[in-house]
């Protein structure tokens, strides 16, 4: 609290820096929306918890599955585009974080900082632990998408489902049965569900702790850096 008063006393200027361009922000929120929708609809599909309405013509499960598939495809699209942007965009800020991932020192700095020791000092916009977790989540996203597409291919026999069938057969053969595929799809979903609260907390916490604009940055795209106090 004492810090706030300091801010008020001194007249400081801030530099505004664009961290996440509009494309990244839109993709982030699309993905967030998709994950929430997928988790909710998926939970219903795994265990249909509410009773049907009296009207038997309403295909409750059918509609829930439809939503699940729709958001699933959004999710797959986002994963692909976001992966492309991460790897091939001219802006190097994201990729710069790789340097930290391969530096033991950076790891120590980040982990120490989470336990209230020292600054969060990093080369790119992500810490090494952060980038590793995001990378892991991306791998999970790919696995969840593949298992999801396999399940899709056995429900819809024509069109995309039909086209995916040979791939689906290979995956099922590799996994030793569709039940295994379905089971792991379920496990992947849990990983996302567990990731979400941790992710939100860490974002808010680093914002408060290190006075970053870490929450708003994913909405407006800007972070603010304190400028050195002007002389005179």
């Amino acid at each position: 609290m004492a810090q706030h008063s300091t801010v008020e006393k001194e007249l400081v200027t801030y530099e505004r820096e664009m961290i996440f361009p509009i494309s990244v922000r839109i993709l982030h929120w699309l993905r967030a929306l998709a994950i929430v929708a997928l988790a909710l609809t998926g939970a219903y599909i795994a265990w249909p918890m509410f009773e049907r309405p009296d009207d038997t013509n309403t295909l409750v499960q059918g509609w829930v599955r439809y939503l699940h598939l729709l958001t699933g495809f959004v999710f797959i699209g986002v994963t692909l585009v976001r992966g492309y942007l991460f790897l091939f965009t001219k802006e190097t800020r994201e990729r710069a974080s790789f340097r930290d991932v391969f530096s033991l020192k950076s790891w120590i700095i980040q982990i120490k900082s989470y336990f209230w020791r020292g600054h969060l000092d990093k080369a790119g916009i992500y810490g090494p632990l952060q980038l590793t977790v995001y990378f892991g989540i991306t791998v999970l996203a790919i696995l969840a998408s593949i298992s999801g597409l396999v399940l899709y291919a056995y429900v819809y026999h024509h069109g995309l489902g039909g086209a995916l069938r040979p791939m689906a057969d290979m995956v099922v053969h590799f996994m030793g049965g569709l039940a295994r595929v379905r089971y792991w799809h379920h496990v992947f979903a849990w990983a996302f569900v567990i990731f979400i609260p941790i992710h939100i907390y860490m974002v808010v916490w680093t914002g408060i702790r290190f006075k970053h604009n870490s929450v708003e940055v994913i909405i407006t795209g800007y972070d603010y850096h304190k400028q050195p106090v002007k002389k005179g």
């Binding site: 004492a2 810090q3 300091t6 795994a46 265990w47 249909p48 509410f50 009773e51 049907r52 038997t56 013509n57 309403t58 295909l59 409750v60 499960q61 059918g62 829930v64 599955r65 989470y114 209230w116 020791r117 020292g118 600054h119 056995y154 429900v155 057969d169 290979m170 099922v172 053969h173 030793g176 049965g177 569709l178 039940a179 295994r180 379905r182 089971y183 379920h186 496990v187 849990w190 569900v193 567990i194 609260p197 941790i198 907390y201 916490w205 408060i208 702790r209 290190f210 006075k211």
Partner: protein, 378 residues
């Protein structure tokens, strides 16, 4: 469709080839059928049924009929490994009155321990004679898994006390085609369930050849007989899926053609066995039905001459035509997410919820500590 035309041509060529072989039985099928009181009309009706059963266009019907007429030239050797004889029991329930005996007469059963009159040395002679006489031409069906631990010593057969492993590898060498009848022969089955004490394996794992797998515990008589008919007609294996199961029988999931599917899509589920929803025939998903992950034609063909099938009898599918289903699909009365995961002693959902709870607690602890933590930042 082109592929059908090609198949048809192949069938015609195959039958021509078979017709040129010297028939083992002197008289024609027609005479024999008359002797057995089966009219030509009954026979054509039957061949139409088999045609549609094999998912072939009706134009194939004459071919099926022709195939049955020459099928007495296909000798069958049926071996029993580590098994319960349920598959043979299923075979003897094959339906359409009088037809079972027709099939018996036309697929010449050279060796089948449950059916044959000879025992002991005489049975052994039959086996050896058939393997020699029909070298390269006999159809080999295997029922039961092959124990492989201790060099296969857990199963010994015949006067020479050979292991099951030896018997099956010998017979497989000169078979025209090999059919694993049932989940045990296909994938190891119940004796291969954890901890698989006898090292039981599916036939395809011990034989260096393509093996048709007829999953099911046991497979329906339709699936057994239909597959044999396909081989007789075309002289080749039917189109197979990823686990070498014939696509005509295992191409669709149980869920795809389930009579209760409408209730699944409508979100109408049985909540406990025998409740009002069960009386209304609602979906059994929440009772652990594994139909969504199981490939078989049970909903359309059913069992025992279309009498019933497990889902009609109010119990979920247990996935018995899938590899390792005893381990993968258990607990049978719970959906996959609620199965108890071995080693964890809890369901996936419980584990997930515990980790989620722990994360939230961790977050809380971290947040509270943060409030009191001395900042080195400022």
């Amino acid at each position: 469709m082109d592929s059908y035309n090609a198949l048809y041509e192949q069938g015609v060529a195959r039958l021509k080839q078979l017709q040129q072989l010297t028939p083992r039985m002197g008289e024609s099928l027609q005479d024999k059928m008359e002797a057995k009181g089966i009219s030509r009309r009954d026979f054509m009706k039957w061949s139409a049924t088999v045609t549609s059963l094999l998912a072939l266009p009706l134009s194939f019907q004459p071919l099926v009929a022709q195939a049955a007429e020459v099928s007495d030239r296909v000798p069958l050797i049926w071996l029993h490994m580590a098994e319960c004889t349920g598959c043979s029991e299923s075979l003897i329930r094959t339906d359409s009155p009088s037809l079972d005996t027709l099939i018996f007469d036309h697929v010449s059963v050279e060796y089948h321990e449950t059916l044959m009159a000879a025992s002991g040395m005489q049975a052994e002679e039959n086996l050896e004679e058939a393997m020699e006489t029909f070298k390269g031409n006999y159809l080999l069906c295997v029922e039961g898994a092959v124990p492989t631990a201790n060099n296969g010593a857990f199963l010994r057969i015949g006067p020479k006390s050979e292991t099951g492993l030896q018997v099956v590898t010998n017979a497989a060498r000169n078979a025209a085609a090999i059919v694993s009848v049932g989940t045990c022969a296909s994938f190891g089955g119940v004796q291969a369930a954890a901890p698989n004490p006898t090292g039981a394996k599916g036939v395809h794992e011990v034989v260096d050849r393509t093996v048709i797998n007829l999953g099911g515990c046991p497979p329906s008589a339709k699936n057994i007989v239909g597959t044999l008919m396909y081989f007789i007609m075309f002289g080749k294996l039917p189109a197979l899926d990823m686990f070498n199961r014939p696509k005509w029988a295992y191409g669709k999931r149980v869920h795809d053609n389930c009579e209760r599917r409408g209730h699944f899509d409508a979100g109408e589920f049985v909540e406990t066995f025998g409740d009002e929803n069960a009386k209304d025939g609602f979906c059994l998903y929440k009772m652990g039905c594994k139909g969504p992950y199981t490939y078989n034609n049970c909903p359309t063909e059913r069992f025992n001459a279309h009498t019933s099938w497990p889902v009609l009898a109010g119990h979920g599918c247990i996935g018995c035509s899938e590899p390792d289903f005893w381990d993968e699909m258990a607990d049978f009365e719970k959906p996959l997410g609620r199965q108890i995961v071995k080693g964890l002693d809890a369901s996936t959902d419980t584990v997930g919820a515990v980790i989620l709870g722990a994360s939230v607690l961790g977050i809380g602890a971290h947040a509270v500590t943060s409030i009191f933590a001395k900042s080195e930042e400022a």
